[in-house]
Amino acid sequence: MALLDVRNLRKQFPVRKGILSRNLGFVRAVDGVGFTLNEGETLGLVGESGCGKTTVARCLLRLIEPTGGEVLFEGEDLLKMDREALRKVRAQFQIIFQDPYSSLNPRMTVAEIIAEPLRNHTRTSRGEIRDRVSLLMEKVGLHPEQARRYPHEFSGGQRQRIGIARALALNPRVIICDEPVSALDVSIQAQVINLLVQLQEEMGLSYLFIAHDLSVVEHISNRVAVMYLGRIVELATDQELYQNPQHPYTQALLSAVPVPDPGVCQRRILLQGDVPSPLNPPSGCAFHTRCPECERACANEEPIFRDLGNGHRVACHLR
């Protein structure tokens, strides 16, 4: 059984206007997303801005309440739990946020930040907490002597390490990484990626790794899901997805990534225009307005997310 099984997850945000908050309709930010995450595995979730990746992350932890669907963690549905049960599950289910500047409380010291989950979830004595904090700091490559400093005294990469230490404090089984390296410089990015890989091997963690950078996702993931306008359009093992992409959107996305090799002459598939507004998504296949291979059926019918064999799933009429 998969550690995490997400089925038909949906989130709609109402759009209101004016002083009477007239409801103008709904933005379907996440529209029927489903995937599984196995023990010790990294599932990458890629897509362009506004495709709903971060909303998925927040819905899984119920940081925002999803509109519908199921999130089964070891067989139990998180969305049906009461507050107390949810609090217990969250100890095993942590998140690392994108922006290391706004996700750490500026008025708390590093020690307080890392100790907070321990205080909230466990009965640990002060002395034990202190030891645990030093251990965690060492584990993520920070000096325990810096425990009494404040977040502003650290660089971006170090702050991201603090966020990782906080996520590790309760020995979780799943960590959602929401764009954990996008705000960092390349040399620092490599340090944080390596740290995540090492921690995974050491502690048997499962990651849901959300990012817009396809090279980073390929590097860290075992399987990858591609999102477009609130839906997963393709899901496969990293090798399958990157060497044999099936969905025209995935193909265009991969061809657009700049290759750091001047000898390679890239053949880019240039997509026309921008991502359509999720307030008024296109009929049928949401990608048909920009798809180079669009056929008649694409505008009318929604494609089924079907399995092409060996776990390679794609939502496209043409495949």
Binding site: E48, H219, V257, P258, V259, D261, L270, D274, V275
Partner: protein, 326 residues
């Protein structure tokens, strides 16, 4: 000199006077931009790449900034020009594309007004003529229905569209030199590909030179012919792009190339760990002695911590600031 150089920077030093002390953001940088070429400038945040561009356009208020050295544009030293003369060059012969198209466009003016303003001021044409040319520029950067779009405000456009409007504005007076500061960084990959493609085409059409500032080595590989690598305000390596990627000489460049995950690398090498550059960029107020990279360098020698490294020319067209090659 092999080619005719359009811009030569000699010993440029830009310092800021702050309460904590003097910060040298750009430290004795020398480089040339030849006619019709795209020069890539790479480096991490704080390495001085943006300040170099802003110094060229003299967009840094003084004080707190203090600029020394020479910036020769077609033989004239820009730093000697008076404000009126500078204004005639800025946005005209030299123009700039900024990173954040939302904050660098004026939110209370329509796109058409902003583009035609530059044309009117620099080309001395009538309002109608300037507007007509602005719409023509919007068409050139492939904005759909340019006539209608010219009447819209920046917030009505998407990120990619705003960046196109920005490029239209920068090219509206047919500049000889275009400074592009992270032109694709804020954009999604598919939009990034569109913008890179557009810049390539327009550069050839307008016969302009581009200084492409970015931290993305992939964009450099695709667009630039020559590249300059900066670290803590200094140029540490200069080379042809193909030489740099094939055989980087400076340990920092080597580390930088090793630390980016490229697609296919993991499958090819079977390694899940990336090469790391240990440590962090030093604070500009506490620069290490000798070579500024030596505390993070895996090949540092005794001399590296004591004396500043010389600029060495190991072969034609390459320069490296490192004791290893001295």
């Amino acid at each position: 000199m092999r080619q005719d150089s359009l811009l030569s920077i000699r010993d440029l030093r830009t310092q800021f006077h702050t309460y904590e002390g003097i910060v040298t953001a750009v430290d004795r940088v020398s480089l040339d931009v030849y006619r019709g070429e795209t020069l890539g400038v790479v480096g991490e945040s704080g390495c001085g790449k943006t300040v170099t561009a802003l110094s060229i356009l003299r967009l840094l208020p003084s004080p707190p900034a203090e600029i020394q050295g020479e910036i020769l544009f077609e033989g004239t030293n820009i730093l000697d020009l008076d404000p009126d003369e500078m204004r005639r060059i800025r946005g005209n012969a030299i123009s700039m594309i900024f990173q954040e198209p939302m904050t660098s466009l004026n939110p209370v003016l329509t796109i058409g007004e902003q583009i035609s303003e530059a044309i009117r001021i620099h080309q001395g044409v009538t309002r109608q003529e300037a507007w007509r040319r602005a719409v023509e520029m919007l068409q050139m950067v492939q904005i759909p229905s340019p006539n209608a779009r010219a009447h819209e405000y920046p917030h009505q456009l998407s990120g990619g569209m705003r960046q196109r409007a920005m490029i239209a504005m920068a090219l509206s007076c047919h500049p000889q030199l275009l400074l592009a500061d992270e032109p694709t960084t804020a954009l999604d990959v598919t939009i990034q590909a569109q913008i890179v493609d557009l810049m390539q085409r327009l550069k050839d059409e307008f016969e302009a030179s581009i200084v492409l500032i970015t931290h993305n080595l992939g964009v450099i590989a695709g667009m630039a012919k020559r590249v300059v690598v900066m670290y803590t305000g200094k140029v540490v390596e200069q080379a042809q792009v193909k030489d740099l990627f094939r055989e980087p000489l400076h340990p920092y460049t080597q580390g930088l190339l090793g630390s980016i995950p490229w697609m296919g690398r993991k499958l090819a090498t079977g390694r899940r760990l990336l090469q790391e550059i240990p440590g962090i960029v030093p604070s500009p107020l506490e620069m290490p002695d000798g070579c500024r990279f030596h505390p993070r360098c895996s090949r540092a020698m005794e001399i590296c911590g004591k004396e500043e490294p010389p600029l060495v020319q190991p072969d034609d067209g390459r320069k490296v600031l490192c004791w290893l090659w001295a």
